[in-house]
């Protein structure tokens, strides 16, 4: 008897395709995982005018595409997508479903998991698989610098949302082919109970901390609000922005806008100064692509110090004052 073809699904979240390549990153990881358990990688794309995404997902590694293209799916609708995915997954029983941890994905995935009566881990920063096909989901946990290994051992599919930027996409190859199944919109698709009144792309802000080349981040180790505010001066000298950790934002030393980390901004500066930050994962999860990290902390054993290119063991506020003083002497335009 022929064994059932194992399958790893990736949900096609293409709304910000050019800014956010998480679907491609997940296809790439799915290809790795599929090799271990001899599965196929299947991308699901629903929407209208989706040929471009079918082509892209094929070029980046998908073996099969399940596509539903219909004018009534023109804008993202959580309820419609739920109905369609619930049916497809119910009919075909994938082993794994991976979804990008975008705002959409993080609202959609938990509801889909509930409908499929299965487990879901949130915002994973790593995935692994055993030869038996158990998906090991690495997710930030315990309000600090800990990671948890989470498994859904008794229910299928195994589901995870994954932080954008965690995996590298496979370079495109437009020679690749995939089995493309174009499926009809089910006739009895219920009307969405949520009506879209307005829907528009928000104006892109010009300069933001997300695209700053120098960022000066401060944490609790700055001691107090007055000391923290001096980070502004260093940022000005270096033409950079100030970022903050969550405890600091909650303490009112910095605005929520400055929050860097899992619940805040994801930054990719060329140089990151990290003052008095221990390195809890809620913060470090936002630093995935920081190029050159300079950490200053009294405790040389702090996680942030170990993550740094240069670790300066000193009182953060004291060092900041000295650095400002010295830079003022040295800077020549």
């Amino acid at each position: 008897m022929k064994e059932r073809q194992k399958s790893i699904w990736v949900f096609g979240d293409y709304r910000n395709y050019y800014q956010n390549r998480v679907t491609l990153q997940l296809i790439s990881k799915a290809v790795d995982l599929a090799r271990v358990i001899a599965a196929e990688v299947c991308a699901v794309v629903v929407g209208h005018d989706i040929e471009e995404w079918i082509m892209e997902y094929t070029a980046h590694g998908a073996d099969r595409i399940l596509a539903i293209d219909h004018p009534s799916l023109t804008s993202y609708s959580t309820e419609h997508y739920l109905v369609l995915m619930e049916r497809l997954a119910g009919e075909r029983n994938p082993d794994i479903i991976l979804i990008g941890a975008t705002d959409f994905g993080r609202e959609f995935a938990p509801r889909l998991a509930k409908r499929l009566k299965t487990g879901l881990s949130a915002d994973c920063v790593g995935l692994d698989i055993t030869s038996e096909g158990l998906l090991v989901q690495i997710a930030p946990s315990f309000g600090g610098n800990m990671l948890a290994e989470i498994v859904t051992d008794k229910h299928r599919p195994q589901m995870a949302t994954v932080r954008p930027g965690t995996f590298k996409e496979i370079p495109h190859n437009y020679e690749r082919t995939a089995i493309v199944e174009r499926l009809p919109l089910p006739a009895n698709l219920p009307v969405s109970r949520v009506r879209v009144v307005e829907y528009e792309r928000a104006a892109q802000k010009g300069h933001t901390i997300e695209n700053a080349t120098v960022i000066v981040c401060g944490g609790r180790g700055m001691g107090n609000k007055k000391n923290f505010k001096k980070l502004d001066e260093l940022a000005r000298l270096l033409g950079g922005d100030v970022g903050a950790t969550r405890p600091v934002v909650y303490a009112g030393w910095a605005e929520h806008d400055a929050l860097v980390g899992q619940a805040g901004k994801h930054i990719k500066p060329k140089i990151l100064f990290s003052f008095g930050i221990s390195g809890a994962i809620q913060h470090t999860a936002g630093l995935g692509e920081a190029n050159f990290i300079v950490a200053i902390n009294k405790n040389p054993q702090a996680t942030m110090m170990k993550m740094a290119d240069v670790a300066i063991a000193a009182d953060a506020s004291d060092l900041l004052n000295n650095l400002i003083k010295e830079l003022k002497k040295r800077i020549r335009d």
Binding site: A122, L319, R330
Partner: protein
Amino acid sequence: MLNIVVCIKQVPMVNELPWDEKTGTLRRDLATGMMNPACKRAVEAALQIKDKQNASITVITMGPPVAEEVLREALAMGADRGVLICDRMLKGSDTYATSFVLAEVIKKESPDCDLILCGAYTSDSETAQVGPQLAEELSVPAAAYVENLDISGRTLRVRRLVDHFRETLEMECPALVTISMERYEPRYASFAGLNRAFVERDIAVLNADALGITAASLEARGSRTKVRRVFIRKAQKGNVMITGAAANAVGEFLDKYQRKISAVIGKSIESKNQT
């Protein structure tokens, strides 16, 4: 009258976390609790509705006995009724189980509720999954990450910014909304409110049995995920360590990296003494 349910959670106070230096883990047993900030904004959102129209607010939490504190706080802010679900059997529930239990409580304690509010995410686990999964349990329309909500008759209108799209959505009550950190700055509890909340008010405490939840129903509708182990994140770099007095350390650092920094900031910081 509009019946509003707000689901809230007690989380460790993040700016004074007791860390176990040896293991690098959070000593949850020593942590001071507080109401999760996004949950507090959900309470505020409910109160702003109540400021304008006849409404009754029930706050629900699941947790250890000490979680009663956050219910008292919500009562002090102006909520009407508090329900604590407390049972050892429910310890370690994942979001699948938590949303099941919360739904059972709502069906029992507020079967005619019009609006369910949750914080968009909690500051300790940040899964953001309980609200959306609760909407599924209750089979109601829902929206997550809501910045602003208005209610007119039975119609709920919400605004939110998701994935760089600004959306205005409408749905009919009963509906569920999770509130983001963007707006709804929470009000302070008045002294009279605090006094009422802690002295005069009763909080209903329910265990699993009172909700008709058994080991069998938890097997069927309880946790789907297991935490196999927790570990410290691996450090990635760790190249150069500079120690010594701050002034000397600054000099050593700048001398060593002046070219690199100059190139990035587009201004020279190269020391005049150096060549």
